[in-house]
């Protein structure tokens, strides 16, 4: 059979060789210099649940992240990783987040993704708890305001995060988890222990939803 002209064959031959070299080089480079991806790239790991704008997803029990301060996000990610948070056998949702937090492999990666999330503009979330009594919520909030501020704006110096505008269902679930020790009950979690005490004192179980609904409506 006829042979194809040589000049064409050289071109045909060079293409895969070049591609192979390129891909191999890419592979080798990755093997050695392990550059830290950008926060945006890292956030791909969070996006499936917490949403592209950090708006959260109630169906997956993923709270909104937008509007949370960097120090708090860093602290929580690290606590999920080391088992201070989300490692209680009864914390079904926390156990999911615990595995997810492992995707941020190094402190540098945690920092990068937190910087990205902290820069997200706050978003409004829909209310999920039915018919709350906001006056009762406001009354109970007085105890919270001591640390978290009148408008729920938070206070970094005493490790009180901004809570204004958080999802109502999330706040309610967290208060319940604090009360039972599912959150804040781990050994050596001082801030958590303090919060447990407050959660037990500040609000009666049947009034938790009111408080949570009130907190979600805070301007921050």
């Amino acid at each position: 059979m006829n042979q194809v002209p040589r000049s064409h064959l050289v071109g045909v031959a060079l293409a895969p060789v070049a591609l192979a070299c390129g891909l191999l080089a890419a592979g080798c480079a990755r093997g050695e210099a392990h550059a830290i991806p950008t926060g945006e790239q890292l956030y791909a790991a969070c996006e499936s649940c917490h949403g592209a704008r950090g708006e959260g997803n109630v169906e997956l029990s993923a709270p909104k992240l937008a509007g949370l301060p960097a120090w708090y996000l860093t602290r929580q990610l690290q606590r999920f990783k080391d088992g201070t948070r989300g490692a209680h056998p009864d914390d079904e949702k926390g156990l999911r987040m615990r595995a997810m937090a492992r995707q941020m492999m190094s402190d540098a990666e945690v920092e990068a993704v937190v910087t990205y999330v902290a820069a997200m503009p706050d978003v409004d979330v829909i209310l999920t708890l039915p018919e709350p009594d906001l006056n009762a919520g406001q009354a109970d909030f007085a105890a919270c305001a001591v640390c978290h501020g009148e408008k729920g704006e938070g206070n970094e110096s005493i490790m009180a995060p901004r809570i204004a505008g958080l999802n109502d269902w999330y706040v309610a679930a967290q208060i319940r988890k604090y009360r039972t020790g599912i959150r804040g009950g781990a050994e050596g979690d001082d801030v958590g222990a303090a919060m447990r005490e407050m959660a037990n004192k500040a609000v009666a179980p049947e009034r938790i939803n009111n408080l949570a609904a009130y907190i979600q409506r805070l301007p921050g």
Partner: protein
């Protein structure tokens, strides 16, 4: 063969390794024979000038025997392998020896919860010790386990034990193992269970009787808050943990 790559940490690890070696020897031998014949033929009967192919229909007995005899060999070796495989299967999965200790394993997205029976050796009592992702067992004791899944299908796999069992929601699946080696080994989830499947890591810690007792004492101390929780509070959390997702989760 596998023991070169991974320690044998349970009684049936060496049994399974032995079966694998047996199969490897049998099929390895036949694979090599087949490949050698194949490549031999390709070389011997390569096209050469002036030599024409032979006309062999392969329908006559005298010709067919060349595939029939290897074929009988396949049958014989299949029987040997099946016999060995089922013997091992029975030992590991069918015949459960009397238990020294009990443990409950609960899989969920994407963590393992282990319920250790505690000092009284019985499950579902107040001294049960629950841990997440870390399982503590004692060397040379027969453990029977009860495997549950909270949400989707998971698979409890301890390569060092050569043990694997799927956890199916709605079923309590029983099995056993007897650790023979002290140390810490990986627990993996071996069934795709969603986003965090690759991150669903656990560890099994095997210790001597003294070590085990020390672990249990320590765990009881630090875990007291979590495990001694009042049942009403528990129900409250469970109900509201889902209530938060009301309308979302079916």
């Amino acid at each position: 063969m596998i023991s070169w790559l991974l320690p044998q940490a349970s009684t049936f690890a060496s049994t399974i390794d032995g079966l694998v070696l047996l199969i490897a020897v049998i099929v390895g031998f036949w694979l090599i024979v087949a490949e050698v014949v194949l490549f031999g033929f390709i070389f011997k009967f390569r096209a050469r000038d002036g030599i024409r192919g032979q006309y062999v229909s392969g329908e006559d007995k005298s010709q067919k025997q060349w595939v029939s005899y290897p074929h009988y060999a396949v049958v014989v070796f299949d029987i040997i392998i099946i016999a060995a495989a089922l013997r091992v299967w029975n030992e590991v999965k069918v015949e459960v020896p009397p238990a020294d200790e009990q443990i409950r394993i609960i899989a969920q997205q994407w963590s393992w919860t282990f319920v250790h029976a505690g000092p009284d050796g019985k499950l579902d009592t107040r001294d049960d010790i629950r841990t997440v992702d870390d399982m503590y067992v004692q060397r040379d004791r027969v453990y029977t386990f009860e495997l549950h899944a909270r949400d989707v299908v998971h698979s409890f796999s301890v390569p060092a034990f050569r043990l694997k069992q799927d956890a199916v929601p709605g079923r309590a699946i029983r099995g056993w193992f007897k650790p023979t080696l002290e140390g810490t080994f990986d627990i993996q989830c071996a069934e795709m269970c969603g986003m965090g499947h690759g991150l669903m890591a656990g560890r099994v810690h095997i210790g001597s009787a003294a070590q085990y007792a020390a672990w249990m004492t320590n765990l009881t101390k630090i875990g007291a808050a979590g495990t001694a929780m009042a049942p009403t509070l528990m129900a409250d959390v469970a109900a509201h943990d889902h209530a938060g997702t009301a309308g979302g989760t079916r």
